[in-house]
């Protein structure tokens, strides 16, 4: 079976805008599922509300498209009731860190055995481009017309602090690395959190001088720095360019986990 056999071909092309990174993240996640050799009738995709959260609707398994912010709560329920199922959550930065922020930290604390893929486009894409908790300072959105003035959440660091067993961050440009990270996350018992920096050309790029899709992805790629390099530069007291974010594996450990198949 190949990854394309997990798609609901009759639903394609999907509704995402031209060049939206969400489609790439679905490709990589399905390639990881394929790598794991999971069966379709033992795999459940769960999501909340948002462009990112529409992803399970394009996949040929049973899925739950739940209320805004509550994907992790529903996914915890699925995992507790049926620990033999493989649970994968698709979520967005708004869904996960704004309205669903509390579920996020507690799912990490409980270390529920599932894989959470967050498509962090740093904006509320679906509702027209309002600022989210990850909108970087200075960025223009419909709710920050003079530039965001609040500091942004680092979702991956949040998951590390809250206790997830596996945490990694990549971008929608790094398709091979992302697929590998999602696969490792799926293999790790406990909660695996993979943050993906993705492009929302329509509601982020257009307002922030990144008009074309390649310009947007180039902006993301050029601000990504391997976590090993970042740590080395910081240890040496060297300056880190502004807007840099770390990519790579941030943690892999074996804290006690909930819902692990015996």
């Amino acid at each position: 079976m190949s990854a394309s056999e997990w798609f609901r071909e009759d639903r394609l092309p999907h509704i995402y805008c031209t060049g939206c990174g969400n489609g790439t993240v679905i490709n990589c996640t399905l390639a990881a599922v394929e790598e794991m050799g999971w069966k379709r009738d033992e795999t459940v995709f769960v999501s909340g509300i948002g462009c990112s959260s529409r992803a399970p609707g394009y996949i040929l398994t049973d899925s739950l498209h739940t209320t805004h912010g509550r994907a992790l709560a529903f996914a915890t329920g699925v995992k507790m009731a049926r620990p033999e199922f493989n649970v994968v959550v698709f979520t967005g930065d708004g869904d996960l860190a704004a309205i669903g922020g509390n579920h996020f930290i507690h799912a990490c604390r409980r270390n529920v055995d599932m894989t959470v893929v967050c498509m962090n486009n740093q904006i509320y894409g679906m509702t027209g481009g309002q600022g989210s908790p990850t909108t970087p300072p200075g960025a223009i959105s419909t709710t920050t017309p003079y530039g965001a003035s609040e500091p942004a959440f680092d979702l991956a660091e949040l998951a590390v602090a809250a206790g997830a067993n596996y945490v990694a961050r990549w971008t929608s440009y790094h398709v091979k690395e992302l697929t590998k990270a999602v696969t490792t996350g799926m293999q790790t018992p406990g909660l695996a959190f993979v943050e993906v920096r993705t492009q929302c050309p329509t509601n982020y790029g257009r307002h922030n001088k990144l008009r074309t899709v390649p310009a947007m992805i180039e902006h993301i790629r050029s601000h990504a720095m391997l976590v090993e390099k970042y740590n080395r530069l910081t240890a040496e007291g060297k300056p880190i360019p502004e807007g840099t974010f770390t990519v790579g594996e941030l943690v892999r450990r074996s804290r006690p986990a909930m819902g692990v198949r015996r």
């Binding site: 995402y16 031209t18 790439t24 490709n27 390639a31 398709v175 091979k176």
Partner: protein, 90 residues
């Protein structure tokens, strides 16, 4: 194997143009029937997948297909066999 873009899915984002190490995709210039400018292929037989996928029995490279947000890139069997010249670049 033959590289094809499914024009019923492609939305013309040009991400494939950005990632292919061989420069096989080039930005298109003409609107198709869906009102989209899909990329054009420049000597696709240079792609490692076209040449060696069947021999190795797995996907090689494949980054264009992975990054394509619209699942528009695929390799199809050539039938009947379509001969073409392969240029090896050093």
């Amino acid at each position: 194997m033959k590289l094809v873009i499914d024009e019923s899915r492609c939305k013309g984002c040009n991400l494939c143009v950005l990632v292919c190490p061989y420069g096989i995709f080039a930005e298109g210039t003409e609107l198709n029937s869906r009102g989209i400018v899909s990329p054009v292929l420049d000597r696709p037989e240079r792609c490692t997948n076209c040449r060696l996928q069947a021999l190795y029995g797995r996907m090689l490279c494949g980054v264009c297909r992975m990054i394509c947000p619209d699942q528009a890139i695929a390799w199809v069997e050539e039938r009947p066999f379509e001969p073409h010249r392969v240029e090896v670049e050093f």
